[in-house]
């Protein structure tokens, strides 16, 4: 009997153990899918592509390159436009040239890995039509080329990885790869984009690549390659720089790629408001949908996928109930870069020829006859925003006394001392101006805190025309260059240029005013190797309007703000993260770091 009981209890015991083990311990994950599920349907491929596109270094509103972004709260645009000195951030002081600010090494290779994985499985798949697979492969090649462009423009020659590497436990030395020459990377991008352009059709759903998107990227990348050959020295045995003998063929590649897009007739300059040139230029950036000028854009959707451009940049008096405003402010230097409509130099008329300050009854008259694009790029003191005048005053001058305050509520002789968005209070523009391009007046103040959905235009015909013009000018085809620039001038509402007046600098100047806050000009200054001359020892300047109480008119002062900026020659390349140098003995650090 004893034995029977013992036996029975053992059976029961073992039975419970045996039955339940599998059920209890083998719980299923809710949110993990295997690699093979990615290429199971068009929808799942689309989901994978969503991730790949999202990792592209588009340098848009939400892009954070550096892991800690040095206290920047609002992404790439702020960093880049700050670096160009087009804008001045009201919190951040000078930018250290330690080569880490634009760091995008880990993120870049992490994205490359996922694309390599995807490319390998697309190449293996037999589940879909060849045309379908070609389109996907073309998109993947385009994205990978974009990633490598993001890497090469920062670091110069870098390791070229085109397959998925895996750590097997004993192949560490195999994974320690050396850098490739800079030329090799540019050539790789060039041929990859050619393949991508061949594989993809001429049109695509909004937000995805097609033949012309690949060519638009190519025209821009080739400008970088050509500039490296033309203006940069060859260093480190070609890891940095490209022999100057290659310059012309790269200019030609850029010229040809841009020309194909222009000739296709698929795109045209946005010209919906021919009677209001400023409004036309303003609206161009708010309407990426059904916009004939847009070649490729990143779209947002409220409320799931948003950015916070407006939240941080609205003028103080328009800020959301949560607060925050006025983060970056256009500088006086930027204002002066915009010429007058007639083509004359854009220097502001603050003093007369005797050196006395000019009094303006209407303060906006200071900007009379400026390039209309200026009014769409910056909110100027006393200009209108959302139908209301933006009051930016620095103070009141009464009988030679200057009255200022840091309190918005303070009044002097019944008049508010500083404007509702005026200089001197906390959390207001550091220069007296506010950013306007990309700022969407249709968002109510209560909404901006939850995010904006203004799209980011990565490639537009205007930019392609500039690529074309630059390559043409460098190749000496001044007629082509003038034709491209004059298309933009006509759209902007300013006087055309004559081919005989066109130089490379004409194109560069056009770049600067046409593409403010599009995160291109900083890189342009780098590739032209002018940054160390233009940006070093440089102060941003603010424009302070003072109201003369007796004369009932405004005078303007320009004031240096912030700290002097530095640009050392080593900053033409970023520093490879020092941890990477110690992990991979075959990696060589860039000079100066």
């Amino acid at each position: 009997m004893k034995k029977v009981i013992l036996y029975l209890s053992t059976v029961v015991f073992v039975g419970i153990v045996g039955v339940s083990c599998n059920k209890v311990l083998n719980v299923k994950p809710q949110n993990i899918v295997t690699g093979s599920q990615i290429l199971s349907s068009k929808k799942s491929v689309q989901a994978e592509l969503a991730t790949l596109y999202s990792q592209m270094p588009l340098e848009d509103f939400n892009f954070h390159a550096h892991n800690t972004y040095h206290g920047y709260t609002n992404g790439w645009l702020e960093v880049l436009s700050g670096l160009t000195m087009e804008n001045k951030d009201h919190n951040i002081n000078s930018i250290p040239g330690d080569g880490t600010w634009l760091e995008w090494w880990n993120q870049g290779y992490s994205s490359v890995r996922q694309i390599n994985k995807f490319i390998a499985s697309v190449k293996k798949s037999k589940k879909f039509s060849k045309q379908q697979l070609d389109q996907w492969l073309g998109e993947a090649l385009f994205i990978r080329a974009y990633d490598y462009f993001g890497l090469v423009k920062r670091y110069g020659g870098i390791p070229l990885i085109t397959h998925v590497q895996n750590y097997t436990g004993n192949n560490l030395t195999k994974l320690q790869v050396p850098r490739n020459k800079e030329k090799k990377i540019y050539d790789f991008i060039s041929t990859e984009l050619d393949s991508a352009a061949t594989l993809m059709g001429p049109t695509s759903p909004a937000g995805r690549a097609n033949k012309y998107v690949a060519l638009a990227l190519k025209s821009r990348v080739m400008l970088f390659a050509a500039s490296e050959a033309e203006y940069a020295p060859v260093q480190m045995n070609g890891l940095l720089g490209i022999p100057s003998s290659d310059a012309d063929q790269y200019w030609k590649q850029a010229y040809n790629a841009a020309n194909k897009i222009i000739q296709s007739g698929q795109y045209s300059l946005y010209d919906k408001y021919p009677n209001d040139r400023a409004k036309n230029f303003d609206q161009l950036f708010l309407h990426a949908k059904d916009n004939p000028e847009v070649i490729f854009a990143k779209y947002y959707q409220y409320p799931q996928k948003v950015h916070h451009f407006d939240l941080w940049r609205l003028p103080y008096e328009y800020r959301s109930p949560h607060g925050y405003s006025s983060d970056d402010a256009p500088t006086v230097q930027l204002l002066q870069a915009f010429d007058y409509k007639d083509g004359s130099n854009g220097k502001l008329k603050i003093k007369n020829s005797q050196g006395q300050r000019i009094e303006y009854k209407n303060p906006l008259d200071l900007f009379k006859n400026k390039d209309p694009r200026l009014f769409a790029t910056a909110i100027l003191p006393f200009s209108k925003w959302k139908g209301k005048v933006v009051h930016v005053r620095a103070g009141i001058i009464d009988n030679g006394d200057t009255i200022t305050t840091n309190n918005f509520n303070d009044t002097y002789k019944g008049m508010n001392v500083i404007g509702a968005s005026g200089i001197g209070g906390g959390e207001v523009s550091s220069t007296g101006m506010y950013m306007r391009k990309h700022l969407n007046p249709n968002y109510p103040a209560s909404r901006v805190n939850s995010g904006s959905a203004t799209p980011w235009i990565a490639f537009r015909l205007g930019g392609v025309l500039l690529n074309y013009a630059e390559a043409a000018a460098e190749l000496g085809k001044m007629g082509d260059a003038a034709r491209a620039i004059n298309k933009l001038h006509a759209r902007a509402g300013i006087a055309p240029v004559k081919p005989s007046q066109v130089t490379v600098n004409t194109v560069r100047h056009e770049d600067k005013v046409e593409e403010v806050d599009e995160n291109k000009y900083y890189w342009d200054m780098r590739r032209w190797r002018i940054a160390d001359k233009v940006l070093d020892n440089y102060y941003c300047k603010a424009l302070y309007p003072f109201y003369n109480y007796q004369d009932k008119a405004y005078v303007f002062k320009t004031v240096k703000v912030g700290y002097s900026e530095t640009f050392q020659p080593r900053m033409y390349y970023e520093k490879i993260p020092s941890g990477e140098i110690s992990k991979d003995p075959k990696l060589k650090q860039n000079p100066g770091y």
Binding site: Q30, N31, Q176, K305, S582, K583
Partner: protein
Amino acid sequence: MCFLLLSGNLIAQSSHHKKTFAFYTKKQDRGVLRKSNPAINLNLKNATLGQALQMIADQAEASLYYKTGVLPDKKITIHLKAVPFSKALQKVLAGTSLKVTISGRSIMLQKRQITARKLAKAPEQQTVSGTVRDDSTGNPLPGVNIKVKGTTNGTSSNGKGHYSLDVSSLQDTLIFSYIGYRTRTVPINGRTKINISMRSQTLVGQQMVVTGYGAAESKQDITGSVSSVSSKDLEHTAKPGNTVDMLAGKLPGLRVKETSGEPGSYSSSFDIRGFGSPLVVIDGVPGGDLHRLNPNDIKSINVIKDATGAEYGVRAANGVIIVTTKQGQEGQVHLNLRSTYGWSTPTSAPTPMNAYQYASVKDGALVNAGNPPAFSKKQLQQYKNGTLPSTNWEAAAMRKYAPQYQEQFSASGGSDKVNYFLSLEYLKQQGRYKSGDLNHKRVNFRSNVTAHITDNLKTSLMVSGHQDQQNTPGHSAYVVNRGLYWNYPTRPVYANNNHNYLQQVPDGKNTVAGTNANITGYSHNLGRQLTGVLKLNYQIPFINGLAAKGFYSYRSYYNNNKTWHPQYTLYSYDKSTKKYIPHIHRAHTTLNRYFRQSTQTDAHVSLNYNRTFLGKHNIKAFVLFDQETRRGDDFYGNKQFPLSIVDHLYAGESANQQINSDVITPYGDEGLVGRLTYKYNSKYMVTGRFRYDGSSKFGPGHKWGFFPSISVGWRISSENFIKNNSNLDFITNLKLRASYGKVGSDNSSSFQFLSGYSYPGPSYVFNGSLVKGFSSRGMANPNITWYTSRTTDIGLDGNLWNGALDFSMDVFSRKRTGLLGTLNLSLPATVGASLPQQNLNSDLNHGFEFQLSTKDRIGSAFFKVSGNVAYTRHKNLFIERHPSSNSYNNWRYNNSNRWTDIYWGYTVVGRFQSMKEIKNSPVQDGKGNTTLMPGDFKYKDYNGDGVINYKDMHPIGRSDTNPEMTFGLTLSGNWKGFDLSADFQGGALSNISYLGSEQLVQPLPFGRSGLAQFTNRWHHKNILDPSSPWVKGYYPPNRGIHNSGSPNYQPNTFWLQSTNYVRLKSLEIGYTFTPHVSGVQSIRLFANGYNIFTWTGLKNLDPERVGEYAYTIQKRFDVGVNFKF
């Protein structure tokens, strides 16, 4: 196997010899008596009565004590098979002058001749009556023997402790005797009413310790490191609402830290020996909520600190806290009603600046930075003399004392078949806010019922639960507290002092608005937990000493959260237009709802075998199979509202509404547990334990781990060289013990063994619609598995002078290997994926504990003192990192083989006294000392290279804010119905750096207001004149609103403060009396306080509070009454 134990209290007494022997059961509590009749098997030839009784005792899991000579010297031969306990006793004692009578809740063995007392009664006899009570608790003592000296005439007290005895003369003397109490001899001296109290005698081995899966072991036999508290130790401790807080300082090795005083936050942290979060097991159910447990339900808390918790394998690496709740006792019904009402007030908090202080500190800072001042000399004067008002935000929004109220009720009792313990608790606490919108309510209930179905089968159903709700106003305690320091004292609470218009302040954090739910909304957090436990206990009749047990528990958690954040308006007053300008805060009115529901089941079956062979060899074997599952589900929704009137989702807009849920990974764990104990003559003890444990977190082939432990004990006091040495007879018990074991932890995230993709990942907009993407999981580690802890503990337990002095000491070390780390640092980023976590790193904790207690009586006053001290420190043994490129980097950043709490910083050698000194000192700001001014910290050139930079940072203190050393001291005593208990608690060897805080290192952070302490700073004699001489102060001079760039705000010895402290944690004074009301057993009136006094060198912060803006730690005071029926 707690209910396999014999739970009765068997008393045998021989009145002739005035000597006793007794079976002491494994119950700590004297009032806990229950009939139980375990089956006894005996097979003895020519054994002494003593051996036979010993065997019965062993099988009943009782311990046997008697003095030689009590038992008749006789040999017996007896064969019993599964005979009920009481019958077995009768059979063994048959033919002796001892007789077994089972009366009420006790089984008494009496000499036969005593029973004839009634017959001897003489007609002229008189009656003496009275009540016998426990001297320390005041509880009545039933079953006390009362005898007239020199006669056989006697009686015993009834269930109410009442007795009545006929005596032949009122000049006789009475002798009161009771097991476990000192016998008292009381001359009648002509009285007819004699109420007496009896003092308990410590009897070694009486105290029971509960360890893994309900195993109970007498304290003298325990071989592991376990500290215990019983209900008695908690009864007279102030109850601050969080039961964890009551344990502070009471258990050596258990660190308790009260991090916030917010009602309903339950945020106190606790750990064992600094190991991290321990496993809490309440009535056998793992993962219980110790914070919200009704303290009156607790029968005992046992903290297993070493590897003897290995039975819980997977979760035992940080120690195990085993809580046992009360059970009803056979016999009388006990009703207990306890009510308290109290008040709470902050312990210590920094003082915000007043308007004058703010204006002058602000001007000083601006002038120092070379800017014009913000306040004119005239304004400063007006603030100083009160012409201009100053706002005290704290006084506007906070009350001095917040009320709290607590009601506890319990009933217990039982018959020989069924017993029960029922309880109910209600707690209500108010917060500091004048609005009353911060408050907390909790209701707890418990029903523990046990039924004896047959002699061999017992079943228990234990159902318990609680519901608690915390209501907070629209701004969190953090924001409100920050507002007290941030808000300008120069601004009024109400615009233009018109009470219809709350003043606009930066960010809209007006404290009065933020604390008022009518203005800023509210958050209601409701939590509910329900636990049911079913136990079956079967004494297998055919095999001696074998029992089987089944256990099933089901627990459900439910959370319901509602957060209503309406838009609200603050105003500024425009003097020029005489208009109130509205400032709307919050972009929308929003309502958030959150629901979460989760369940946990735990089931186990076990076999338990316990037998003594040849009277000396005791073997206990135990095997158990355990299975646990956890599942959860949640849902939340959010809407925006056009109007801030109706706070329900149906009134919201459907545009922009959001619903979502979280990824809640299911979890499962299984284990096969075994334990084998061998005891030789209660002198040598060894226990081996193991758990073969499986976790769902790991991949195939790596789910299971084997975790063994061994513990040994040697009771030195049982050796003849102590026992037979009359010089050492003060040693009641002395035991050396040691344990070593390996336990595992699966403290990693699930599914790291899977590669592939997680969905959803990043999203992107294609053609106007949002597409959710996949995110790559990178490389997987299919080999990821348990990390293991190896814990060694050596301890010495002693008991001297029969319990007058009791001590226990331990030294321990815990080494963990296989801690998760990543090789990432050595894999180039060009691979594009980081390596998954691997079992790479190792660390070590070691320390000691010492506990000492003594108790005695002076006159009619009884007192007890117990103290403990514990020390623990944590060290990394190996931390994976990329190789250091030079020796400096190795010294600075290689944390392998190094204490984990090293704080690196500069040593402040003094202050710069003059610009000249600054000029002539080594550069320490990287800018030629041009940014320095007198009063700034002067740092030590640690490496002597003539420049002060990051290379001069060196270890200057501890980075951990948890004390490495903790103390506790408990005093208790009583005298004639009065009682007093006090708990002191403290910590040492820890630091806090003010650097991480906004307010404690500088005034005016972010341009806002700050703390009054900063008026004691270096400043110019005339703050508006930068050329006036410097006046010295405690803090460095301040400039601008952004101080962060200054070298003053680098880690240094000035900002690193010691958090050593001692505090009078709890003090309770009570008076107990028995009113002349039938049914009322006793009434106790009491008053208590919590966190009453704190002794610390730490300035401006409570040493336990984490963070400057956390809700202040509270002192609490209660008055209360406790009725017993």
